[in-house]
């Protein structure tokens, strides 16, 4: 039984290098207008505030909310990258987080070398590494390119490699950001089947998306994030009805029905 419990977590980013670093831009953009001060009177951005929910096997949760609502930060916290300032996250089960396409890809290394690193990170043995390389090569259709440095790839090829790698390892808990669903039409046809196997295999799916079609197709529960808090949590139709404008909602429902 997989389980993921988020108990009253808050995350705030300290702004140490405000003048010079791009941190300011990224964080401010991500969390518009939520500046605070910590105990030592340093400027912080409050990305998440008192967020609680619990997920169990069978839950397929979609996170919606405007840009900067804290969706990506929440995914990163659930993936164990950011440890919350207060509150706690309990996870039972193997987690895979698919957060961005070039995630951990080293541009100077070849495709095969990148696959090997990912496999070693998952604790694979030599035979499994070979198998993974063959699997990704077959899916991504990169054959001879896998022996060339990733920097020589086109951006489409990088997405194919990243996607092939990300979906090659089957997790119990799958955290997914939107990028996986972006790609050209011909690739998406090929990718859809592979992604569906992974999604259906996972006991818990957490998906962050702006695409209501995908949310309606894959999710049985929707959490609406707004300025770092949970605004609503419930069945997709209910939450989407409150979130979307009436005509957009009608359109989305018609799309899902059709």
């Amino acid at each position: 039984m997989a389980r993921l419990i988020v108990d009253n977590i808050s995350i705030s980013f300290p702004l140490y290098h405000v003048e010079s670093r791009s941190l300011k831009k990224t964080v401010l953009a991500a969390a518009s207008g939520r500046l605070g001060e910590d105990k030592k009177h340093r400027l912080t951005v409050e990305a998440l505030r008192n967020v609680s929910f619990s997920l169990h096997s069978g839950d397929r949760v979609g996170f919606i909310g405007s840009n900067g609502a804290g969706k990506t930060t929440l995914l990163r916290a659930m993936a164990g990258i950011y440890e919350p300032v207060s509150g706690s996250i309990t996870i039972d089960g193997a987690v895979t987080a698919l957060l961005d396409a070039s995630q951990g890809l080293n541009m100077d290394l070849t495709g095969n070398e990148n696959i090997r690193l990912r496999a070693l990170f998952s604790g694979f043995a030599e035979a499994q590494i070979k198998q993974l390389q063959a699997d990704v090569a077959a899916f991504a259709g990169l054959d001879q390119f896998l022996d060339l440095p990733v920097r020589t790839y086109s951006s489409g090829m990088i997405i194919r490699l990243g996607f092939g790698l990300a979906t090659a390892i089957k997790p119990q808990i799958l955290l997914m950001d939107e990028w996986l669903l972006a790609g050209d039409a011909s690739f998406m046809d090929k990718a859809k089947h592979r992604l569906e196997t992974v999604v259906e295999g996972a006991e818990i799916l957490v998906l962050s998306s702006h695409n209501t079609d995908i949310i309606l197709r894959w999710c049985n529960r929707v959490i609406w994030m707004d300025t770092g808090r949970v605004r609503a949590d419930g069945p997709p139709q209910e939450v989407l009805a409150a979130y979307l404008a009436p005509d957009q909602f009608a359109h989305a429902m018609a799309g899902a029905a059709g």
Binding site: P14, A79, I81, E83, D100, G104, N106, G123
Partner: protein, 262 residues
């Protein structure tokens, strides 16, 4: 504390990954070059050769004694100074990995250590060549370099974590460490043999309290066939214990904050 220990033990479990990452680091550095990583060997050989001949004249030393001494010292020192320099940026440079996947943070410090051990192993060839050239035969005492090596690896890993944390939090640390190490290079008997200063009181104190000297000496002494002084070992162990203790405290406190800092 438990979480910090778990972080480190996970790094130990992922040692094959650390090894491959380090290997790729070296390969990348020399990808497309004719000699590849043997540029490391060649450039060390050229440096040791040219400095050795000049300084043996300047210091009125016998080259057959001075050159083996200088070779060992320079090779070991370049290990120390590269480790300190690269440690300060070990977390900031791994930003993509740290924000992309959940990995033990200490893995990035281990990677710096492993990479530099690989570099060091290329330079051992030069030491070996110099020894053969000048018929220096190591004595049985040379076996005490084994415990010394273990101490060095532990210290290097601790330095990696400690400087990595400070370098991630304070961006002024890398240049500060750079200039401190520059000064340490001249104050420590690396180019010059401590025997040259034996009769001068003040300089002797400088040597005896210098942590770099005691650490260098536990490696260099046995290789040069000098008797091991328990005093030097005690100093080395004392400084290492202090370093590891401080690192433990700092890493326990700072570990959860690293992703926020970089």
């Amino acid at each position: 504390m438990a979480l910090a220990a778990a972080d480190i033990s996970e790094t130990v479990r992922l040692l094959p990954l650390v090894w491959t990452l380090s290997l790729f680091d070296i390969k990348l550095r020399y990808r497309g070059s004719l000699l590849g990583p043997f540029w490391l060997t060649l450039s060390t050989a050229i440096m040791v050769g040219s400095i050795g001949f000049l300084y043996s004249r300047l210091f009125h030393q016998q080259i057959s004694n001075y050159l083996p001494f200088l070779t060992i010292s320079l090779v070991l020192w370049s290990f120390i100074s590269t480790i300190t320099a690269e440690s300060t940026v070990c977390f900031t440079q791994a930003q993509g990995l740290i924000h992309g996947t959940r990995m033990p943070h200490s893995l990035h410090a281990a990677r710096v250590v492993m990479r530099n051990i690989l570099v060091l192993s290329h330079n051992l060839v030069v030491i070996l060549a110099v020894f053969v050239l000048f018929h220096t035969t190591p004595t049985l005492a040379a076996f005490t370099v084994l415990p010394a090596c273990m101490l060095w690896v532990a210290d290097a890993f601790a330095v990696g974590l400690l400087l990595g944390v400070f370098g991630a939090r304070f961006r002024d640390i890398p240049p500060i460490i750079g200039s401190v190490m520059q000064i340490a290079f001249y104050l420590t008997p690396i180019m010059w043999n401590p025997v040259m200063l034996e009769h001068r009181g003040l300089a002797k104190a400088l040597i005896e309290l210098n942590p770099f000297f005691s650490l260098l000496e536990i490696m260099r002494g046995p290789l040069m066939g000098l008797p091991i002084e328990s005093h030097t070992w005690l100093m080395a162990l004392g400084y290492s214990a202090a370093l590891i203790l401080i690192t433990g405290l700092v890493f326990t406190r700072a570990r959860p904050r690293i992703p926020y800092w970089i």
